[in-house]
Amino acid sequence: MSSSSSQVAAPTRLSRVDFATMAITFFSLGVTLQVLLIDNGTSSTRALVASVVIFSATSQFAYLAVRDGGGGDWAAIAAGWVVATRFGILAVSLSSRLPQGFWRRAAASINAFDPNVAVAVQQTTPWEVEREFWRTTAGMMLGWFSGLAVGTLLGNVLGDTQRLGLDAIFPAALLAIIGNLLRRRDGFIAGIAGAAICLVLLPIVPAGLPIIVSVFGVAISLIMVRVPGEPRTRRSESASDGEQS
């Protein structure tokens, strides 16, 4: 471990340990989601169907957050949509790296998640990209579907979920999912700005709206953080703090 500038978050090639970590992560995510959905009053069959077809824990978490906050169905759906833009962005970075062909690109794109795209885009040839993508995806799916099954069973057994602190699992899971993005300076500022916007608006506007408006946190980050190479960049290399604008 010499002082190289390596700070790669995802493994380059998926070892057996990485595969297991991936599966365990999605297993816990699946369990958490099912327990929370059932606790929220969704029947276990409906919860299972929802998680299998939507296949997006973050959108479902966002939906539940707004409903819990007293928001209507459409406001909650809108929040889920905004959160799911993340998948569109992941598909953008994955798709162009894959081998040519509409169907193989479509099949991979609709399975784009943070970890499998992170591993895939580090490969060199399109065929390696595709192979590592599907290997990671297999690990995720193994964990996800078995997690859903276990969570559905547990959801009916657990009594008072508040007493068990399960309501805190929800935001903690979300934070862990976007952890790598928040480690980047621009990601961190966008995150803080989004959180601040939500905090200010929450008591004064209808439920659901604070989450949608928080998108403008991105603008604040773009203004405050300029990437090297962009026009009008004029800052010394030690640009760690002291932003005044």
Binding site: A173, L181, V218
Partner: protein, 102 residues
């Protein structure tokens, strides 16, 4: 979850990926600033959802045990702890505070 929400969120999660891969992707390639902005959306929006879940009860702000659980979770995420550890710690800390207070 309502049937409407299941249908709409399915379209959101699957449709936005296809639109991203085949329409937005090629278009964004020529517009690096917008591509950067798009990449930052999750940070802002997901953090807003986290705020809602941590310090809100309905449409009023409250500080309770959840904030303690989340603070521990934040430190663990920063220290790159595994997902399962983050999630369990948040639950255990929140539950312990609840048991102590109430």
């Amino acid at each position: 979850m309502t049937t409407l929400s299941i249908v709409m969120l399915t379209i959101a999660a699957w449709g936005q990926r296809l639109v991203g891969a085949f329409l937005i992707g090629p278009w964004l390639e020529k517009r690096p600033i917008l591509a950067r902005a798009a990449g930052l959306i999750p940070a802002a929006v997901v953090m807003a959802v986290i705020v809602q879940l941590t310090v809100a009860r309905g449409s009023s702000l409250v500080v309770d045990e959840r904030l303690a659980g989340m603070s521990v979770a934040a430190v663990l995420v920063w220290r790159r702890a595994p997902f399962i550890v983050v999630v369990l710690a948040a639950a255990v800390v929140t539950a312990s505070f609840r048991a102590l207070v109430g």
